[in-house]
Symmetry: D2
Amino acid sequence: MLIVMQKDATPQQVENVVARVRSQGLSVHLSQGAERVVIGAIGDDRSVSKDQFMLLEGVDRVLPILRPYKLASREFSDTDTQVKIGEREVGGNAVVLIAGPCSVESRGQILEIAHAVREAGAHALRGGAYKPRTSPYSFQGLGAEGLELLAEARAATGLPIVTEVLATEQVQQVSQAADVLQIGARNMQNFALLHAIGETRKPALLKRGMSATVEELLMAAEYILSHGNRQVILCERGIRTFETATRNTTDINAVPVLKSLTHLPVLLDPSHSTGLWQFVTPVARAGIAAGADGLIIEVHPHPEEALSDGSQSLKPERFAELVRQVRAVAEAVGRTVA
Amino acid sequence: MLIVMQKDATPQQVENVVARVRSQGLSVHLSQGAERVVIGAIGDDRSVSKDQFMLLEGVDRVLPILRPYKLASREFSDTDTQVKIGEREVGGNAVVLIAGPCSVESRGQILEIAHAVREAGAHALRGGAYKPRTSPYSFQGLGAEGLELLAEARAATGLPIVTEVLATEQVQQVSQAADVLQIGARNMQNFALLHAIGETRKPALLKRGMSATVEELLMAAEYILSHGNRQVILCERGIRTFETATRNTTDINAVPVLKSLTHLPVLLDPSHSTGLWQFVTPVARAGIAAGADGLIIEVHPHPEEALSDGSQSLKPERFAELVRQVRAVAEAVGRTVA
Amino acid sequence: MLIVMQKDATPQQVENVVARVRSQGLSVHLSQGAERVVIGAIGDDRSVSKDQFMLLEGVDRVLPILRPYKLASREFSDTDTQVKIGEREVGGNAVVLIAGPCSVESRGQILEIAHAVREAGAHALRGGAYKPRTSPYSFQGLGAEGLELLAEARAATGLPIVTEVLATEQVQQVSQAADVLQIGARNMQNFALLHAIGETRKPALLKRGMSATVEELLMAAEYILSHGNRQVILCERGIRTFETATRNTTDINAVPVLKSLTHLPVLLDPSHSTGLWQFVTPVARAGIAAGADGLIIEVHPHPEEALSDGSQSLKPERFAELVRQVRAVAEAVGRTVA
Amino acid sequence: MLIVMQKDATPQQVENVVARVRSQGLSVHLSQGAERVVIGAIGDDRSVSKDQFMLLEGVDRVLPILRPYKLASREFSDTDTQVKIGEREVGGNAVVLIAGPCSVESRGQILEIAHAVREAGAHALRGGAYKPRTSPYSFQGLGAEGLELLAEARAATGLPIVTEVLATEQVQQVSQAADVLQIGARNMQNFALLHAIGETRKPALLKRGMSATVEELLMAAEYILSHGNRQVILCERGIRTFETATRNTTDINAVPVLKSLTHLPVLLDPSHSTGLWQFVTPVARAGIAAGADGLIIEVHPHPEEALSDGSQSLKPERFAELVRQVRAVAEAVGRTVA
């Protein structure tokens, strides 16, 4: 970390900062600028509070040099991490497609969709049993029954299951039914949940919070990684901005930015990042063109009957068309769709 | 809800929408505009999915008319709700001041601060035992031990305790030590937690999420209210914007906006909403001037030693000065500080 | 427009609103809902102030039904507008590539780049003669001399010229040297400038303001169109959000959203929308995959010597590689690069 | 500026950066950290491009140390600048109130309002003659005739005039009628206009752009200051965020932040920063409580007839009440309303 002193800082104030840097087990490098002194604190300062320096007399700013995450960084691992979803690896050359309804609504519905998306080319089935809904008056998911229906759909189609965990007490139960534990955007900084999932050895699909920076997403991944679970998949699902024409704003930059900062695989969820089915396919193509390792897509045979997220769900035949278009783009950028 | 048809919608498409509106138990009012047909769906449609209409052929837009929250609205209750914190009521004419450290760090620290803030005029003590930290490598709070220390501080000073609950499994334990259960910004949409706190009869202090709209904050309150807990206090704590000069942007508008939309009391947390102690006092004054029912302020005797949030913590003597200034502003707007 | 009355609005208040609607030459359609009356104002109300109704006693909200732009809308014109840049058409099946330096810096520089980008496959040359710079101490462009150098580069390479106009008094002068008048993001709502460019018959390349909605971009286009200039090209160049890993956030959703709302051609500027050369090529690919009609890219032979925007400039050989990759993606989505 | 090298930067790459730093007339200070080398570039680097270093091989990040503005900074001038509006000084202990309609609409309207706001306690009259409107179909202001009516209102009431300049070619004409030249939010980065106003010796009221950072606002002020005009008043008028309950989000933090960074006076415009008259008075009180040097408020006798901004305009009697309330708050914070 670098500590920039105020223009008029006294030698005593500089001394004081230097002493505190040393007291934290860091060494010191002093630099006298044209207008200010800059104090370099040398050593691994990831667990040292920056605030303590901000508050010393004569300090103007504190600039971190090391990135706050470690296990998630490219500097920690040169090789791209590949995470298994069923028999596929996410993070390799082949693009992985996860598809299914927002919520599991009934046995008929989930089986119909599971067959349809497998036929269209999906590699895994998504579907929510426990649903985080902004209104207490909306459908909250089928819960345990939904998990059983997902297990049945897996048995019927062979597709591995991706489903969301909302609370620490659900982790064990959901782990039995699911191949991948999804952490939703609203829980990206539910640290108790991240910790609990870090204790499992199930692949985790971590969605970016709707106002989280890329760095905070990587810190959330670090929580899981630091508790021993190395199978983390990141997912861009749109951020909140002033734009109201779409439900969220797809931060397409985040795809290559994440690929440059981390070795973890990166998915795009164009269903949530647009919120309108009309724009899902073009944005899905964009995600693959930008370098995403896969997509997660909401599909429903009768979107107008869906109990949640109907507006952003594709009908199975439109999903099949999406797969065709995505395959063409994947090949154009030197990748395949398995 | 109003359903605006596309310019070129066919009579058959209009028919189709009308039929679906009726199938949801709503009645229909048709309006033929200059360019478009607008279909009014009449009845309480809070639990009716808007998406289903968006997806029907010929529909351009769906405009909700009813607000999505009910129990939290001014229309539900004309009278301002007053919530007890110890023996004080939040939401009446007297402004309530909650102060204390970000985290409980030690017996000595919490007792020293408790005495100091009581002396300076605080009505309740805040302090985190379970801490949500963005880095897994940062101090995570003292947990159960912290709760015991808070209980001891209450016994020593008589100040009621406000402390955060991070997970559903902590609700019971924290309820024993705390007078008010705080729900942090990162958990504003942790619906499992909201539900669990809704089942208690403890006052809840609900912080606005850092990218939550005012409406979403009210929907989160609705979760708690709808499970039977009517003692909810709202708290503006800054939102995330592009501005980087401060940690967050204090949405001061939210104070009078919330007071106009809801009967629940509204606090401001200028420590988090600015992130820098230099700006806490002016923004605290602004909060009271705008009509807030109270403040929650971080205080630490040695901010540069604080294990968290030192940059935004006031020293006790500065907090005492804040209380003096806030009292003057409160009186200028016809209120008191108890 | 629809006027939603408050829950407790009196018949007299409804009468009053109805009378005012009629006084504006609109007719009225009344709808009695479960809780509220909704008044439909029927007729073309684009030039009628909505505010006047907001302020009448008993009114809760005013909801516009018609989009505020007309000439820019798909409803005005079914056919995609194609705008000529030199001999190419932007907005047809072939993707158009505009490339060049941020600023014209010298005769040698602009000629070298012009030849390089033409060779690499660009169809037009960009380069700023008048530069809007956030610091008064930064290089402000070569002005008139820059325009002459651009004209010379056109003569030498045959590439049409795209360059920015900063002020109404420059419109005539820049029109002589330029084939396309660029309106920068900071001037998207410089209405005097939009008006002046609307009076010319030069193609205009209108960049989205950094906090402008898609609707505001279309309203800015409407200014130009309504003054008679129908040759408007829209350009997404990134918006401002809380994310700091990149200079701006590429709103990739805006590409298909704009294509659905307007008949005007849509470009992407991945240089500004990312701000870092490393991410320009993947985001350029994403833009074409999402349906953009072309790209505008900053290229400089020695980015580290560039007087502006060096960080986001590609070297010519990297631009050539971008063209190859973009061509592959264009073909994958059924388009060509001319 | 500090240049942080990548973890694996070679000695040759460090050498190369050092050479370039020296070539810019800066001296060098090298610091070898635990993981990385940091190169300090010492000297006044405000006019040195940071980009050139970003692009050198082995460079990870470039961190500016000096603030980019100089004349606007507190370090440049210890004393608060006071700017004259008529016979009052903005920036001293007395709070200054500017009030009037959004647009000058007619002789009767502007004279009526001028008398009303003077009576209520305003010190200056605002009113737009040239109006920037988002729709080309909306009222665009009376132009030159509006300026004459403002001059007449000044003659009749003695109130100095604050009115907006939209384009460089209007500067001279508006300067004749106006005591203060207002630069609107949409023109905050219209550098041609800032330059032109910098050449005058008229006080300038510079509004923050709706997505401008505090630093960018100060850089815009620097444009005016650096061209010789030292009479600049800053104005917070709300920023754009995801919140839709109000037209903009009042960044109340910006008031004390600006007061700490600059010697220039700071106003708040609660009419634009809320967009709804109901919230203007509480937010006006908050502004003064936070330390603003004055307010600019929209007033209209018949807001429902206003040709623009009716929703956010106060009736004269409500403005008189605002003045009373603001006076009480001003006194509570040790200031006066003249």
